[in-house]
């Protein structure tokens, strides 16, 4: 071989050696220092997909849907995708979305790199299908779950609502948030280079659980019927507000709970904030004469008086604990001796005060507490107040004569109602109950709520006695023939600027029927009703409303009349 070839061959071998060395060094470097952060790059391939749980529905006792989730679409356009040739379809799109066509045409005319321009919100499924069918490139929608309330609007205070962030604000929505919200799911996975999920990557999955369905004790149909009656009554008496509460006396389950005026929880933000407060649990009023039923059942229960005992209702003052006390005036002068039942039926303030003398301050207070005054009913509704019921030490000299007729005490309609329910049902104070059952997404019952007795307040015999005494006669405006309505009306002067007003009243009535084993208990409160002449007594304003409600329930439930067996 020629020397030149030998040299050049050696040179070639040298090149090869250099090549292998270079690659070795590079490999060593990659092994030792890693070159780049592979972990970071591979972390970026993790994807998390969340799945929102459906919020549970709220249904009434007959299974009517009160609140559920509605899928709506937020339609917008990706301007980088739009094509000029879709211009002809914009008219139809504008019609479906109810947006001005000029706006759409302007968007389609000017090229832009904006990826998302919202066009319309709250587009329902059928309309969105139409939009999709148009096939305009770049137009698409995002699915949003929206809470939708279908109940009669007066039930808003009970059902509550979700705010714009889908957080419950009040009512059942908040109370039952734990059950309603459900559990959102997620899926983490790795993607391959085409951004498709990897079958072999690390992945974690948690399925979403839809929220539970909450069944209320409320009957929405009855609620709306009563709502109509109250709206009419509010108009008729020019009242500020009207409230009605209908429950089963034995279980405390609420059948209807009407507040007028009300708000529509689908559009809660269109109302002043005061409108959103639940007056039934926040607003206090003096119960007035309705409280006499409490006073008298207390006196009878502890044996301070008996049914045959008579009281002189003509007295303007009487001695109590060695001190002469002025007795309150009656709505009309009674110049006679009255038995307890007469005191109650004529609603004599003086008689009630004298009964309280027999009962004494301590027991008057003690029974008031036992009936639940001055304490929350623990209904669970937002903002429920305790009411005002001062302990004996804070009483002044007048209290012993005024409290028996329901002055100097303030309560909510709930407190009054459940106290009287205790008289009706044989002496048990019940907890208010709104929720009957909770179902999971498969329809299986998760939890059943049983009526809960708060405490026994009076003896069953006393209760029976009271039910007889409270029976209304045909002179009452609450009277319904053959249905044995037991009721007590009340009229309280409102306190305006620290004094009892002579022009503003709160009229109330609470009653149940039939008076033995009552099936339903109704309380109506009218705030500041007006009539053409005279004082808007409860017996004049609230009683007719009560009767209308009672008749509605009789018709709705088909309660048979019970001719008197006496």
């Amino acid at each position: 071989m020629l020397p030149v070839i030998k040299n050049r061959y050696r040179f070639l071998v040298g090149i090869f050696i250099a090549g292998f060395l270079a690659i070795s060094v590079r490999l060593f470097y990659l092994g030792k220092y890693g070159g780049i952060d592979a972990q970071l790059t591979q972390q970026g391939r993790q994807r998390v997909q969340t799945e929102t749980a459906f919020r549970g529905s709220i249904i009434d006792c007959k299974g009517r849907c009160l609140a559920n989730q509605l899928a709506v679409y937020e339609v917008g356009v990706d301007l980088t995708q739009v094509r000029k040739e879709d211009g002809g379809k914009l008219g139809i799109l504008a019609d479906i979305l109810t947006v001005p066509i000029d706006k759409l045409q302007a968007l389609w005319k000017v090229p832009s790199d904006r990826r998302w321009v919202p066009l319309a919100k709250n587009i329902k499924e059928p309309s969105y299908k139409k939009v999709q069918a148009l096939g305009i490139k770049g137009v698409y929608g995002n699915k949003v779950l929206q809470r939708c309330y279908l109940h009669s609007p007066s039930l808003s205070y009970i059902v509550g609502f979700l705010n714009k962030d889908n957080q419950p604000v009040c009512g059942i929505e908040k109370m039952m948030q734990f059950y309603l919200k459900g559990q959102g799911g997620y899926l983490t996975y790795e993607v391959n280079g085409k951004r498709e999920p990897l079958p072999v990557g690390r992945c974690k999955q948690l399925n979403s659980n839809n929220g539970c369905t909450v069944e209320l004790t409320i009957d929405d149909r009855l609620q709306s019927l009563i709502e109509a009656i109250l709206v009419e009554a509010k108009e008729k008496y020019h009242a500020i507000s009207a409230q009605a509460l209908v429950t089963y006396p034995y279980t405390g389950e609420v059948i209807a709970f009407v507040n007028v005026p009300y708000f529509d929880s689908n559009h809660y933000n269109r109302y002043p904030i005061e409108r959103l407060t639940n007056r039934s649990v926040v607003n206090l009023f003096e119960p007035g004469s309705t409280y006499k039923s409490i006073t008298i059942s207390a006196a009878l229960d502890c044996g301070a008086i008996n049914t045959t005992e008579q009281f002189d209702c003509s007295l303007s003052s009487a001695f109590y604990k060695g001190k002469k006390r002025n007795l309150p005036r009656d709505w009309k002068p009674f110049n006679q001796l009255m038995r307890v039942d007469e005191v109650l039926s004529h609603s004599s303030n003086r008689g009630a005060a004298q009964i309280a003398f027999k009962l004494g301050e301590e027991r008057l207070y003690e029974y008031g507490r036992k009936f639940g005054f001055g304490q929350s009913t623990q209904s669970g509704l937002e903002g429920e107040t305790n009411g005002i019921f001062k302990p004996v030490e804070q009483w002044d000299g007048l209290t012993i004569t005024r409290l028996p007729m329901g002055h100097g005490i303030a309560c909510t309609i709930l407190q009054l109602h459940y106290a009287v329910s205790a008289i009706a049902n044989g002496g048990k104070l019940m907890y208010p109950q709104f929720i009957r059952r909770i179902y999971d997404q498969d329809g299986d019952i998760v939890q059943t709520f049983e009526p809960k007795v708060r405490r026994e307040v009076i003896k069953p015999s006393t209760s029976k006695l009271m039910c007889q005494m409270l029976l209304s006669d045909h002179t009452s405006k609450a009277f319904i023939k053959n249905y044995h309505v037991a009721c007590k009306t009340g009229t309280a002067q409102k306190i305006i600027n620290g004094r009892y007003s002579h022009s503003e009243y709160v009229s109330s009535i609470t009653g149940f029927f039939p008076n033995t084993n009552p099936r339903v208990h109704i309380t109506v409160v009218l705030d500041n009703p007006h009539i053409r002449v005279g004082v808007p007594y409860g017996s004049v304003t609230a009683a007719p409303v009560f009767r209308k409600i009672a008749q509605t329930i009789i018709a709705y439930w088909g309660i048979e009349p019970m001719p008197s067996t006496l």
């Binding site: 071989m1 020629l2 030149v4 070839i5 050049r8 061959y9 070639l12 071998v13 090869f16 090549g19 292998f20 270079a22 690659i23 070795s24 590079r26 490999l27 990659l30 092994g31 890693g34 070159g35 780049i36 952060d37 592979a38 972990q39 790059t41 591979q42 391939r45 790795e190 391959n192 280079g193 085409k194 498709e196 990897l198 079958p199 072999v200 990557g201």
Partner: protein, 367 residues
């Protein structure tokens, strides 16, 4: 005489087998689940064909082949022209590199390597002496080599053209082409190369991206970036067979060009070193066998065979480790592809053939 070449021969064969084993292993474990078994099977069939070629080329009398003379060149050109026959050539990814009958596809440019090795060795040893003539020793050989390269460029197959050209130049260099021709020629070649690269913006940006990886990793540097991610994620000992993630459409061409990166991720850089060692062993055994040849034709046959094998490995490993700009080049023995396997085993067969040293030495004017 036999014992002298037998060590090299055994090493050569052993290394080739190790490399093929790596290739099949990675092919089976790493390629996409749906296609891996299919590809593995296909590669096994081709391995059979390749063994056949290996046997033929290790036993054939090379000097008889040499006697075919110019026909070797015509056959090679014929092979390269196959792809241009309408209906026979197959266009894949915009390149006419394949011919197919039914479901069998092959790349004639791979088989052309064997023809080219033999023809080039024949042609540059046709004349006994280097006459230092510009036309005879520079223009003519370069024109002929250039013609082969042109055919490859027309496919277009830039990488293979470069490979053919480089191998030919190395052979001509060793042959003794005067440096005063070579230096300007290499300069010209680099200039031409640069011009071609400049004309094609994709290639231009590929060249640039390999130098500035961080900024181009989402674009033109993507392939190399993913390859380096594979290396970094595998580290020395790898993530384990079948546990690599880069092959899930992050790395392009995992079964061919970037099979080395998958190897690095799954088995670790240690095994890449083993592969590199095998290539080095093949290269140096080949060079040693070549060195022992007396006959110029056999010498250049050995030289060009070694160059083909080694340069392919260099380019491929250089690309996947980021030493060289990204260029599609199969890794011999490992990459999926029947024609490539056949060509490489044929080249090894030629080297084995030479190692027997059964040809009578020629007396007169041996170069």
């Amino acid at each position: 005489m036999h014992s002298e070449g037998s060590g090299c021969r055994s090493l050569l064969i052993a290394c080739s087998c190790v490399l093929v084993a790596y290739g099949l292993l990675i092919l089976y474990s790493a390629a996409q689940p749906t296609t891996s078994a299919h590809r593995f099977a296909k590669q096994c069939y081709w391995l059979g064909v390749a063994c056949l070629f290996f046997l033929v080329f290790s036993k054939i009398n090379l000097l008889q082949l040499r006697a075919m003379g110019k026909w070797l060149g015509w056959i090679t050109i014929g092979l390269l022209l196959l792809v241009f026959i309408p209906g026979f050539g197959r266009v894949v990814n915009g390149s006419r590199r394949w011919v197919g009958i039914g479901s069998v596809r092959m790349q004639p440019s791979e088989l052309a390597k064997i023809g080219f090795v033999l023809f080039l060795s024949y042609w540059i040893t046709k004349n006994k002496q280097v006459r230092q003539n510009f036309i005879e020793d520079f223009v003519r050989p370069l024109s002929i080599v250039g013609f082969f390269c042109l055919l490859l460029l027309l496919e277009p197959d830039f990488g293979t053209a470069l490979l053919f050209g480089s191998v030919a130049l190395l052979a001509l260099f060793v042959r003794g082409m005067p440096l005063r021709f070579i230096v300007p020629a290499v300069g010209l070649a680099i200039g031409l190369f640069a011009f071609l690269v400049y004309l094609n913006p994709v290639r231009f940006s590929r060249i640039l991206s390999f130098l500035d990886l961080e900024n181009t990793r989402m674009g033109t540097g993507y392939q190399l970036w993913q390859s380096l991610v594979a290396f970094s994620s595998g580290k020395w000992f790898g993530r384990g067979l079948g546990l690599g993630h880069q092959q899930f459409f992050f790395l392009p061409e995992v079964h061919t060009d970037f099979i080395g990166a998958v190897l690095a991720e799954e088995l670790g850089i240690v095994h890449v070193f083993v592969v590199l060692g095998c290539f080095a062993a093949i290269a140096f055994c080949g060079l040693k066998i070549t060195w022992q040849q007396d006959h110029p034709f056999l010498f250049y046959t050995g030289l060009t065979s070694v160059c083909f094998l080694t340069l392919q490995a260099f380019i491929n490993l250089g690309v996947i480790t980021g030493l060289l700009p990204t260029k599609g080049m199969a890794l011999p023995f490992l990459s999926y592809g029947g024609s490539n396997l056949v060509a490489n085993f044929s080249l090894v067969g030629l080297l084995v053939n030479l190692s027997y040293r059964r040809y009578p030495p020629i007396e007169a004017g041996g170069s």
